[in-house]
Amino acid sequence: MSTTGYIVVAWVGTFLAVGVYALWVLQRGRALSKQVAPEQRRWMKSTDTNAKDASQ
C-alpha cells in the first residue's frame, strides 16, 4: 500500500470508528429512554448508594 493509502485508512478508520460508536451511544440512549419511567429520565440526579443500601 502507498503512503496515501495508509493516510486514507488512518483518517477514514478514525472517523468511521468514532461515528459508529457515537451512533451506538445515541441509539442505546433512545432505546433505554423508552424503558425508563418519564420521571426518572432526569440528568445529573445523583443517588447515594449508601443511603439506598440503608433504606433496603
Binding site: T3, T4, Y6, I7, V9, A10, W11, G13, T14, F15, A17, V18, Y21, A22, V25, L26, R28, G29, R30, L32, S33, K34, Q35, V36, A37, P38, E39, Q40, R41, R42, W43, M44, K45, S46, T47, D48, T49, N50, D53
Partner: protein
C-alpha cells in the same frame, strides 16, 4: 391552546426521549463543523513536513486521539477516587463512561500509530518500550470494562472498578516517560515534552485544531455516554422491581392455594 402547548413543552423538558439536550446539540454541531475544517486543513491545506513528509497527516489524528484518551483515563481516576470518598452513583457512572470512550480513542491511537510505523519503520508493530507499555495500558482499561460487565450489585461493581480505575492510571506516566527511561524506536515526547515541536503556520493550526475538535467531540460523547449509563441503571432497577413483584405475586398465589387445599381436606 397556549396552555396545552406550554404543558406539552414542559412535559418534553421533564421527560426527554433521548440523551440529547441543548448543550449536547451545540457541542455536536460544533464538533461536526470542526471535523469538516480539520479534514480541509489536515488533508488538503497543510503542506507536507520537511522531515516527516506526508506522514504528518496521520499525526493530526494520532496526537488528538491519544490526548483525549489520556484525559478520559484521568477522568476515570478522578471519578473512581471520588466514588470511594462520596459513594455516589454520579462518580461511578462518570468514571465508567470516560473509561469506555478512552478505550475507543486509545484503540484509534494505536491504529494510527501502527499505520505511521508501517510507513516510517517498515513494520506495524515492534515490542519496544513505548508500544509495549501502550499495549499494557489498553489491556488494563479493557480489564476495567470487563470487571464492570461481571454481574454484581451496583455498589460492589462500583467499588471493584474504582479500585482498578485508580490503579490503572499509574500506567499513564509510565507510557508517557517510556521514551525517556528506555531506548526504543518511538520518537520523543510531544505532549508535555522537553522538545518543542517544530511545526508552524498551517501545520501548527491543523495540529491544534485537531486537538480542540477532538476535545469537543469527547465532551459531547461523555455527556451522552453518562446519560446512557444513568438510564441503564434506572432500567435495571425497574426490571428488578418488576421481577420481585412478580415473585411476590406468585408466592401469595401459591400460599392462597395451599390454604384452600388444607381447608378442603378438613
Amino acid at each position: 391552546m397556549t396552555t396545552t402547548t406550554t404543558q406539552a413543552a414542559s412535559d418534553r423538558r421533564v421527560a426527554p426521549t433521548s440523551t440529547s439536550s441543548t448543550a449536547t446539540r451545540v457541542l455536536g454541531i460544533s464538533s461536526v463543523v470542526g471535523l469538516a475544517l480539520l479534514v480541509i486543513f489536515g488533508v488538503f491545506v497543510s503542506p507536507p513536513d520537511a522531515e516527516l513528509g506526508q506522514t504528518i497527516r496521520i499525526l493530526y489524528m494520532h496526537v488528538p486521539t491519544v490526548s483525549v484518551a489520556y484525559l478520559a483515563f484521568l477522568i476515570t481516576a478522578v471519578g473512581s477516587a471520588m466514588y470511594l470518598w462520596k459513594r455516589t452513583e454520579f462518580w461511578d457512572l462518570l468514571a465508567a463512561s470516560a473509561a469506555e470512550i478512552g478505550v475507543v480513542f486509545f484503540g484509534l491511537t494505536i491504529l494510527n500509530g501502527m499505520l505511521w510505523g508501517k510507513i516510517t519503520w517498515g513494520v506495524f508493530w515492534r515490542w519496544e518500550p513505548r508500544l509495549t507499555t501502550t499495549a499494557v495500558l489498553l489491556l488494563t482499561y479493557l480489564g476495567y470494562l470487563a470487571v464492570r460487565a461481571i454481574p454484581a450489585d451496583p455498589r460492589t461493581r462500583a467499588t471493584r472498578s474504582a479500585a482498578i480505575g485508580l490503579l490503572a492510571v499509574v500506567n499513564i506516566p509510565i507510557v508517557h516517560k517510556a521514551v525517556d527511561w528506555w531506548r526504543g524506536l518511538h520518537q520523543e515526547r510531544t505532549i508535555f515534552g522537553t522538545t518543542k515541536p517544530e511545526i508552524q503556520g498551517t501545520q501548527a493550526f491543523a495540529a491544534y485544531l485537531g486537538l480542540a475538535v477532538f476535545l469537543l467531540l469527547f465532551a459531547w460523547l461523555l455527556i451522552h455516554r453518562f446519560r446512557v449509563a444513568f438510564l441503564a441503571e434506572r432500567a435495571a432497577e425497574s426490571g428488578l422491581g418488576a421481577a420481585i413483584a412478580e415473585r411476590r405475586q406468585e408466592a401469595s398465589e401459591s400460599s392462597a392455594t395451599a390454604v384452600s387445599h388444607s381447608e378442603g381436606d378438613r
